[in-house]
């Protein structure tokens, strides 16, 4: 991987992460009035996380079936309100175990 491109990307990421944080608190010291924009901004994280997660989660491991098992476990535990760490670790274990079972079945 060419390091120059990577470092420019990192600098860009740092910049576009800092700008939304710093601008309102320093420059615009007034409240946003528009209900539409406020709602829009508030829905953005959920929309973006949803779009990032599905369907790409199903391609995130070696096989579709193990990824689906991991996603299922994550949705279930997420629904039960478990913490990020618990959900992530459980999903990893689910994928790992499913892959092992899959390999065993394949060999038989």
């Amino acid at each position: 991987m060419e390091i120059e491109r990577v470092l420019i990307c990192v600098a860009l990421m740092a910049l576009v992460t800092y700008i939304p944080r710093v601008l309102p608190v320093t420059v615009f010291r007034r409240q946003i009035r528009s209900r539409f924009i406020r709602s829009f901004l508030d829905y953005t994280p959920y929309a973006v996380l949803g779009a990032l997660t599905f369907p790409d989660v199903f391609y995130s491991t070696g096989h579709f079936y193990s990824a689906a098992a991991g996603a299922l476990v994550a949705v279930f535990l997420g629904y039960r309100g478990k913490s990020l760490v618990v959900v992530a670790v459980a999903a990893i274990i689910a994928v790992y175990v499913t892959e092992l079972i899959g390999q065993a079945l394949f060999i038989i």
């Binding site: 990577v6 990421m13 800092y18 010291r29 409240q31 999903a91």
Partner: protein
């Protein structure tokens, strides 16, 4: 209350956040290094970004070989939520806080530091904020360093399985919110539907993965803002209770 005392109080408030960041940043360091980035670049990303979803997604795009514009725009869209938090904090922050102090504390605004500081009664002092963000910064970078360092030591099957970690965390972030609010559930459904249309329908195949995400986000957020305006009060996460 003097500067030092309120800084210390902030540090105390930030310790649990910093501890909570350890496993998440560990996964980040791990994924970044197993994706082909050097450990020092992974730590540099954590040091300069200090955010979860944005830097995970941006790093994924870097590893995938995406262009500058795509990396920057995707990261920006994911981080737009900080604008609301920053705005909200600006209402609560001590009026006389100087611009330099504001610029410094703005760097440490995350979902968690925002929630802790906005739940604090009364006016916010810059010294408290600077103390509050110190421990999360430490935890985030320490975890990244650790995860990146052990990356190559884990067996390959385990490395493959860890590919799901990021998505599992995303799921853990959106499912509870979707359970609480039908509006959020609808927004997520629209976003996923839109991204699937862009991904699987041949006409749209010219749209790259990063722009798919951006387009789906804009469509779904606009949908939510149009059909469920003001619902954000229910979520409570980015509200200061005004």
């Amino acid at each position: 209350m003097n500067w030092k005392k309120s800084f210390k109080e902030g540090v105390k408030g930030g310790i649990p956040i910093g501890l909570g960041y350890l496993p998440v940043s560990f996964t980040f360091g791990f994924l970044a290094v197993s994706g082909g980035l050097p450990v020092w670049v992974a730590v540099l990303i954590s040091l300069t970004n200090l955010t979860s979803a944005g830097q995970f997604a941006g790093t994924n795009l870097i590893i995938a070989g995406a262009g500058y514009f795509e990396v920057a725009l995707t990261t920006l869209v994911i981080n737009l939520r900080y604008m609301l938090m920053s705005l909200s904090l600006s209402q609560k922050l001590e009026q006389k806080t100087g611009t330099l102090a504001r610029m410094a504390l703005a760097f440490g605004i995350t979902d968690e530091t925002f929630v802790v500081s906005s739940l604090r009664p009364g006016i916010l002092r810059a010294s408290y904020m600077l103390g509050l963000i110190s421990m999360p910064i430490l935890g985030w970078n320490a975890g990244t360093l650790l995860g990146g360092s052990v990356s190559s030591m884990l067996p390959e099957a385990m490395q493959n399985a860890m590919g799901i970690a990021l998505y599992a965390m995303f799921i853990a972030l959106i499912i509870p919110a979707a359970r609480q609010s039908r509006a959020v559930l609808c927004v997520i459904a629209v976003a996923v539907a839109a991204v699937c249309i862009f991904k699987y329908i041949a006409v749209f195949s010219f749209i790259s993965s990063g722009f798919r995400i951006i387009a789906a986000t804009v469509i779904a957020s606009a949908f939510g803002a149009w059909f469920f305006p003001g619902k954000e009060e229910e979520g409570g996460k980015t509200q200061d209770g005004d």
